[in-house]
Structure formats: structure tokens, C-alpha cells
């Protein structure tokens, strides 16, 4: 039975840690990899150290989570040690990066490659920081320039994480066509108001919504893009169990990322997903997980 998948690099199973969750401290990433994840994506790293927003940075009301961490990160020059520690987990570490233009992206991508990252994931979609993420990602020309520039500067695969907060995600995906894979979807721009306090909960007011509630949105984007383009897709958004993961794979994903669900199920969710995948494949007489990718489109 084969559960290994190919996303420009081979990973031992299709379950990856999503960027932004438990991936700032190298020791935590190492532990996630030891808990069964096939690969882990780091927190998004930029040129300079960035404090991010003051608490509250999260609103929790399962199945809805809204966060606005604010791209807090130590800056690429200070991230070497964390990658080094994470690599002790002996599985691929993928560097998530953000910048304001092609030059910044390619500089950070080169550093990630030097540090030992197996691939980079371009954050073209963070919905809660001005001048970065979604603001960069919603300009197709800029996306095109960034992806082409990064591709030309490094020898490891490049993934583009796209935003659902756009009027035309197909255009966005086509602009990122040179990527080795598309990562769909980032969080959905959202907010919550506490009616007793009569105030927005998050210090930044707006945040990105994740959790089980966004799964149908993610499924739709994976399906829609897979139908339009012959591109590898990594599905992310609201995956809590094997059925959720299979649904993404059937919609066209080659691998999936898990984030918010760790809140409910802990790091061991990765081991559980692996076991449940084997059980699912046995019960359904599937020899190779890759057979399932995109079956819903056929």
C-alpha cells in the first residue's frame, strides 16, 4: 500500500502541518514531524523581525476560529537555528515566506534553501496585514513577477498559497502557474464583535477565519482550480479527520495541511490520520493514495 505523495518533493504521507500553527519554535516543528506529519510548513518569515499584534490575537468559537497574529516572526536572519532544530525531525521542512515584492521574496527563499528547507511556500494570502500577503496576492502581475523571480533563484520547489478573499481566484492561480504546487486556501477575512463589550474582539479588528466551518470553501476552490488547471494542489482549510482529508484529495489535492484542528485533537492527530488513512484504503481496496486525487472531477 502506498501513501507516499509527490509535491515536487516526496513526502512519506499526505498530511502536512499548515503554516502559522505550532511552527515558530524549531523544537515544536520537530515534535510535529515525530508525531506523524509527512512534512511541516514553518510560520511565515519576512525580511525583518516583526512583533505582530497584541492579544487578543485569536477568537475561538468552534467550529469558527479567527486569528490575527500579524505575521510576527524573528526575521529570516534569525530563523536558521529553528530550521536546524526542526530538521532533527528527519522529514521535509518547508519554509513559508512573505515579502512586499519579488526581490524580498527571492532573498528570503534563497536563505530558506541555504538553511535546508525542502521547499518554500509563498504567503500570497495573509488577510490581516497591510502591504503583505493578500494585498500582494491580489495583484496578478505582482504574483506573476514574484513566482517567476523566486523560481529562477532557487532549486527547491515553490508553492504558492493563495487567498480565497479575491474576486477571481482563477486569475490569481494562473498568475502563479510556474509554482510547483498551489496551496488552497488561506484563511477567510472575518471579524467578531463581543456584544457585551460592544467592541471587536481581535486587537487588529480583522482576522483570518479557520476551522471546520471553512472546509466547504476550501473544497470548492481546490475543485474549481483543479478543473481549470493541471497543477498540483495542496488542500488546506477545516480538516479535522480522515473523511475531511479524503474529500480534499477527491477534489484534486495531492496532499493536505492540518492546522487549527490541533487545538481539538493535539499533535497526535497526524498519527491518527495516518492510521485512519490505511484503514480507509484497506476497506475501500485502494493500493495507492494518488489514485484518489481528483476522482470527483472524473
Amino acid at each position: 500500500m502506498n501513501i507516499e505523495v509527490d509535491i515536487g518533493i516526496k513526502i512519506s504521507n499526505p498530511f502536512m502541518l499548515a503554516s502559522g500553527i505550532l511552527d515558530e519554535n524549531g523544537y515544536t516543528i520537530k515534535k510535529i514531524l515525530e508525531s506523524g506529519a509527512g512534512a511541516a510548513v514553518t510560520k511565515s518569515i519576512g525580511m525583518e523581525e516583526r512583533r505582530g499584534y497584541e492579544p487578543p490575537v485569536i477568537y475561538e468559537n468552534d467550529p469558527v476560529f479567527i486569528n490575527a497574529i500579524g505575521l510576527s516572526n524573528p526575521g529570516i536572519e534569525n530563523f536558521f537555528e529553528e530550521i536546524k532544530i526542526a530538521l532533527m525531525g528527519k522529514k521535509p521542512v518547508i519554509g513559508s515566506i512573505f515579502g512586499k515584492d519579488a526581490e524580498e521574496f527571492s532573498y528570503i527563499a534563497r536563505k530558506m534553501e541555504q538553511y535546508g528547507a525542502s521547499a518554500v511556500e509563498l504567503n500570497l494570502s495573509c488577510p490581516h496585514v497591510n502591504g503583505y500577503g493578500m494585498e500582494v496576492g491580489s495583484d496578478p502581475n505582482l504574483v506573476n513577477e514574484i513566482v517567476n523571480e523566486v523560481k529562477s533563484k532557487i532549486n527547491i520547489p515553490v508553492y504558492s498559497k493563495l487567498s480565497p478573499n479575491t474576486s477571481d481566484i482563477i486569475e490569481e492561480a494562473k498568475a502563479a502557474e510556474k509554482s510547483d504546487a498551489l496551496v488552497l486556501i488561506n484563511t477567510i477575512k472575518a471579524m467578531a464583535i463581543d456584544i457585551k463589550a460592544k467592541k471587536p474582539v481581535l486587537s487588529n479588528i480583522y482576522g483570518g477565519m479557520s476551522g471546520k466551518a471553512i472546509k466547504p470553501v476550501g473544497i470548492r476552490y481546490v475543485y474549481e482550480i483543479k478543473k481549470e488547471m493541471n497543477k498540483k494542489i495542496i488542500g488546506v482549510g477545516g480538516i479535522e479527520n480522515i473523511n475531511d482529508a479524503i474529500e480534499y484529495i477527491m477534489a484534486g489535492a495531492s496532499a493536505v495541511q492540518i492546522g487549527t484542528a490541533i487545538y481539538k485533537y493535539g499533535k497526535n492527530i497526524f498519527n491518527k490520520l495516518n492510521n485512519d488513512l490505511i484503514s480507509y484504503m484497506t476497506a475501500n481496496h485502494i493500493d495507492n493514495i494518488n489514485e484518489l486525487t481528483g476522482v470527483a472531477l472524473k
Binding site: K30, S72, K196
Partner: protein
Amino acid sequence: MKTSIIYESIKLNDNTYIIKFQDNENIGPGQFIMVWVPGINEIPLSFSGLGDLKEITIKIYGKASEHIAHLKKGDTIFFRGPYGKPFENVAGKKLLIGAGTGIAPLVPLINKNAYGVLSGKTGEDIIFQDRFEKKSIVTDDGSYGKKGYAVDALKDIDLSEFDMIYACGPEIMLKSVMDYIININGKAQFSLERPMKCGIGICDSCSINGYQVCTDGPVFSLNQLMEMPEFGNTRLSYSGKRIKI
């Protein structure tokens, strides 16, 4: 977000207050809540009293803590939680070691079998000393009790007679306590504090060697801490930069 109405506010000293509010939730010693000051900030706070009337002890060090400390009877407190794993409360003899307001989460463990070690920079930092029948007090400047650190007070105590040692305070203090007691009495639980943002185990801000202080802790056993090279050594700053403790 939960809310409760402040029942009472007590001033302990110039910058430390106790606030009491009604909450029927079953909360263990050492667990904490994230207290929100709308429009200002949100900070983790643990309990110094755990009856139907919950009690928080707070030292003013920033805008949010100042606001919370100055809440008056009838005001509303906003919070989420409780979070984290509590201390395991043993029946036998207990040694409670607290630095400054670090003594607060240990207060619910006090009984006639408890011996307190209270430390502070100055005498102003020593609180809850009246709650202990038996105690040692040390201050960095010698302005109250003996001059010295918490670990200095331990040298005058027969540590082997305690069934459990509990400690809470700055990590550097906890590390020195651990290093001292490790060969004498390994039955110990320490409550850690690291920069906390989400409180629910997903942001990785408070992590130590793969453990999240907010969900796997804040209470860790001595055996757990011995396997954490980060303990007392390095941590991540608020931005995520690795810094020396």
C-alpha cells in the same frame, strides 16, 4: 468570551491587588484564564482562590494589568478559559516556593501541612505570608526576612521530608531551584510562564521543547523539565526570536 461581575477588590500593596468574582466552574490550582480588557490587551492570570468566589492576584506591570487591578465591585470582567493543566495536590507534606506574585497560584494548595518559601526583590514583593503557619522569607536586598534568593532559603530546610515540592516564579529562579533540589528530592511540580498569545495551544509562542506551556503546562513535573534543554536556557521572544533566559 465569558463575563462575571466583580464582587470585591482588595489592595495588597502599592501595585498588587486581589479581585474576586463569582464563577461556578470547577478550576484546579495552577490553571489560568485569559482576561480581556476590551480595546487594550488580553493577559493570562492564575487563581489565588478557587471557591465559588474565584480570586485573582494581579501585579500592575502594564496597561491591561493596571486596568484589571483597578476593577471595582460591580464592574465586569471579561475572560476565556480555564486553560492548562493544574497542580496535582498531594495529601502529605508540601513545600510551596513562590517568587513575588508567583506565590499566588500556590495559595490554593496551602493547608496545615504546607511550608512556604516566599522570595522577592524587596519586602514590598512579599505577599500572602500571613496565610502560612510555617514559612521562610527571603529578599534580594534583605529588606524583609533573610537576604538572598529562594534557593538560599532552601539550604536551611530539610527537603527530603516533603511529599511534594511546588514552585512558581521567573524561569531563572525555577531553574536554580531545580538544580538545587534535583539530587535531594525529585518529587516536584513547577509552574512556568512564557509569553502567551492564543492560550489554546496553537500559536507556538509559549512553547518549550515541543510542549505548549498553555495546554501541556503551565505545570510540569521535575522529570518533564529535566528533558527540556530549553528550560532556564532559551525561549522565543514575542516576535519569535530565540533569546537567552
